[in-house]
């Protein structure tokens, strides 16, 4: 049975797992719950593999799209046919292949890890139910063939994120973080919806193939113009900023670390936050027609990358550093898309999924080993004690810093190369990106040195450091292997490899951009130069971290004291949260309380309703005097009534007579 025909199986299996665990799992033993969860995700991964195989070998990469049933249909009464149709349509193309494999593959590994990590936690069944629910929505998101269904998945992953961040809901900071994530996401979703409306208004449909077919032949909008496509793209990007934590809507991601570590790994590293990048890449036809929007994307991505990296330099919580690192790396992906290198952006998405998930899972292993401690300044000297965790995390750190031949080097380098060649301030973008790469290398190695090297800064008698079980270590090893070899599918010709990845995605994004005006040899030269520069930057970062944290352990404190202003600003995250609270949240709460509640709800609405009742009572109070029980006044009323009726009936005749009387 061809799986491609029944693509719905892939999202459905996790949904079933979620439902079974959610409804029945409360009384089951852990093993039963995890077998349902792992089984559904694992099967989903296998089906996805099979679907990909069919796509590649049977259909030879031709776009596959199937409509399963009509969801929203608005018939066009005037012209026949449908005025609007959004159906449950799934599609498979090269971009989907990448996304679905990343989601199901990495997701499955994280499920395995969670069985070990969450083994002693309460609410085990609830966790896996939510995790499977998330997988369902994410798969809907990547398999959708129209914007509406994508938005269903979009909202759904936001919901699952809320549920999972607030998993320890009895802890106030956790439930607050969940709410913050949902609300900030919502702001982005508002932009996304407006973008969808605008697209529908312009193209009359929201199906991907239809919209892109109609947009393709249109002329590109000139720089600086704010035409329809530009506005729509900017609105979609606003949604992407919310979901993928870019400026100014990134504030939920660091707080989201309140959730369990596997959640951070899956949702806030590998999958949900990449949904924004996916949307931008999917809509590349629209974006390439709107150079202004692309420039905005690139600038925002670049700025976010730098901004988040600076904050990550001074954080003490191991997960916070990784959170800001995620924001920063997402910035790189948007930078790549913004300069037109959509393939590079997606490539970085894939490699980032590998090494960032690994980093989070490994940090979870460290926290588990330290009995719950998350402050790096209270760790140290763990490298000998938790060997597997140490070596896998080292692989991930080398990957993210961009050392060849690991995965991160190729993807980051590809993005920086494309940024350098961009016509609109490419050199500036490249410079900032390079500095950010240096900072990335620095703070990641700072993390490694503080956590694993040096003398232990904790009480060795009270904390018994132990290695994690194999259920947790297994996925770490697999992800480490992927982090090492994952980049080799896209080794550019420069290094003696074929850029298989770009070739694979070529049917969607077009073939790789050649350097403007440069011959092939010159292009190779440029690429080589830039690559070397990047490696040098990474080495500098490593060296500085080494010097500060291993050779001169007292130096960081001295630096912090001497640069006190800068240090406090950075460690307080530029006071952005406080700024938002003062400028936006508190005024809104004040307005809601004093205006909307007291004035509108109590005064106007209740007042109107009560006023009607009071009016009826008042009128009744006056009118009751007609019912006096006094027959003679009744007689008068009878005459009055007769007079009124006669006057009304004979009004045309009476009017002139009245004039005569006057």
């Amino acid at each position: 049975m061809p799986i491609l025909e029944q693509l719905w199986i892939i999202p459905l299996l996790p949904l079933l797992g979620s439902a079974i665990n959610g409804l029945f799992g409360a009384k089951w033993p852990n093993k039963a719950v995890s077998s349902v969860a792992l089984g559904s995700t694992g099967l989903s991964f296998l089906f996805a593999l099979e679907a990909v195989r069919e796509f590649v070998y049977v259909r030879h990469g031709e776009l596959f799209r199937k409509e399963f049933f009509d969801w929203i249909v608005v018939p066009d009464f005037l012209h026949g046919g449908n005025w609007f149709r959004a159906g449950f349509d799934l599609q498979m193309d090269q971009l989907t292949v990448v996304m679905v494999l990343v989601v199901t593959g990495v997701g499955f590994l994280i499920h395995i890890y969670s069985t070990g990590y969450m083994a002693h936690e309460g609410g085990y069944y609830r966790f896996f139910s939510y995790l499977n629910l998330f997988m369902f929505f994410m798969l809907i998101l990547v398999l959708a063939a129209n914007y509406v269904l994508l938005f269903v998945g979009w909202e759904g992953v936001g919901l699952s994120s809320y549920l999972l961040i607030g998993f320890y809901f009895l802890k106030k900071s956790a439930s607050d973080a969940g709410k913050k994530a949902f609300i900030v996401n919502r702001i982005g979703d508002f932009g996304f919806m407006l973008g969808m409306f605008l697209l529908f208004r312009t193209f009359g449909t929201l199906d991907f193939t239809a919209v892109f077919a109609k947009a393709g032949p249109l002329p590109a909008e000139a720089m600086g113009q704010f035409g329809t496509i530009t506005v729509a793209c900017l609105l979609l990007f606003m949604g992407a900023c919310g979901k993928s934590a870019q400026l100014p809507l990134y504030v939920w991601l660091p707080d989201a670390m309140e959730g369990p570590t596997p959640v951070s790994a899956l949702i806030h590293a590998a999958t949900m936050v990449t949904a924004g990048v996916y949307v931008v890449a999917r809509s590349h036809v629209l974006f390439t027609h709107a150079p202004t929007a692309m420039l905005v994307v690139a600038i925002v991505g670049c700025a976010t990358a730098f901004f988040a990296a600076t904050i990550g330099l001074v954080q003490r919580d191991i997960k916070r550093v990784l959170a800001y690192s995620t924001v920063s790396q997402l910035g790189y992906m948007f930078l790549g898309c913004g300069v037109g290198a959509f393939g590079a952006g997606i490539f970085h998405l894939m490699t980032h999924a590998f090494f960032k998930a690994l980093l989070f899972l490994a940090s979870g292993s460290v926290i588990h080993a330290m009995g719950g401690e998350q402050d790096m300044l209270k760790m140290g000297g763990l490298s000998k004690k938790i060997k597997y965790t140490y070596w896998t995390m080292l692989m991930a750190t080398l990957a993210i810093a961009g050392f060849p031949p690991l995965a991160g080097f190729f993807s980051k380098d590809s993005i920086l190369y494309s940024a350098f060649q961009s016509e609109h301030g490419g050199h500036a973008l490249y410079a900032v990106g390079l500095i950010t790469a240096l900072l990335t290398s620095f703070y990641m190695f700072r993390l490694m040195f503080l956590t694993f090297h040096g003398k232990p800064r904790y009480d060795e008698h009270h904390v018994h450091v132990h290695e994690s079980p194999w259920s947790m270590l297994g996925p770490l090893v697999i992800l480490a292997v992927l982090s090492v070899i994952g980049g080799w599918v896209a080794a550019p010709a420069l290094w003696g490899g074929e850029d298989h990845f770009a070739n694979f995605l070529a049917p969607i994004f077009g073939s790789g951009e050649a350097a403007a005006g440069l011959s092939e040899a010159a292009a190779h030269q440029l690429e080589l130069t830039l690559a070397v520069v990047a490696i040098v930057a990474a080495l500098i970062g490593l060296g500085v971290a080494f010097w500060l944290y291993l050779k001169q352990p007292g130096k960081p404190e001295q630096l912090a004291k001497s640069l006190k202003g800068a240090y406090t600003t950075l460690s307080n995250k530029y006071y952005v949260d406080e700024l938002y609270a003062a400028a936006i949240v508190n005024p809104l709460v004040w307005i809601s309380t004093n205006v909307l509640w007291k004035v509108v709800d109590v005064g106007v609405i209740d007042g109107a309703v009560n006023g009607v009742a009071e009016g009826a009572t008042a009128v009744g109070d006056k009118v009751r005097h007609t019912q006096s029980g006094n027959t003679r006044s009744y007689a008068v009323w009878v005459v009055v009534g007769a007079l009124v009726v006669i006057a009304i009936i004979f009004w045309p005749a009476i009017r002139p007579a009245l004039g005569m009387v006057r």
Partner: protein
């Protein structure tokens, strides 16, 4: 000043005086007798308009039956002169203006209802009792039967109402 006009004014004055007497007399029996005067005057006016059967019916039924009934009841109940009690406040303030307004409105309405009203009526169009009875039993047979049923109900009602209480 033609003869019909003079007769009209005489009868009209008689009617108005009778109505005024009805309003201002203290004893109900005097009011009843004044009402009989009004009815006779109206019967005369009907004759003047050529409605002979209606005039006869007015005298016989109204004057001869209904007013007799009134007089009997007055005598039966030994109704005396009216006492002086306080007027309902509303009636005191609104009574006279209302009455005048009512009269004026009605008059204006009726006069202005149709231009034909102002013209004198055509002479000589006497109405015929035979025609009247033919109309009554053909076009108006349904209301006719209904009113006879109504009279039956009224008789029964009056009998029930005026029974002595069963001890």
């Amino acid at each position: 000043m033609s003869a019909p006009l003079i007769i009209f004014f005489v009868l009209a004055t008689l009617a108005v005086l009778g109505a005024a007497s009805l309003i201002f007399q203290k004893h109900p029996i005097h009011s009843a007798l004044s009402l009989i005067v009004v009815m006779v005057a109206l019967a005369g006016l009907y004759l003047l308009m050529g409605a002979e059967f209606v005039a006869a019916a007015q005298i016989i039924v109204y004057g001869g039956a209904i007013m007799v009934l009134f007089v009997f009841v007055i005598m039966l109940l030994n109704a005396g002169e009216e006492e002086r009690t306080n007027l309902s406040k509303l009636a005191k303030i609104a009574g006279w203006p209302l009455a005048l307004a009512l009269t004026g409105v009605l008059a204006a309405a009726m006069i202005r209802a149709s231009p034909a009203v102002a013209n004198p009526a055509r002479p000589g169009a006497l109405s015929d009792t035979a025609t009247l009875s033919k109309l009554l039993f053909t076009d108006f047979v349904y209301p006719f039967e209904l009113t006879s049923f109504l009279v039956l109900v009224a008789i029964l009602g009056a009998m029930v109402l005026a029974q002595r209480e069963q001890k």
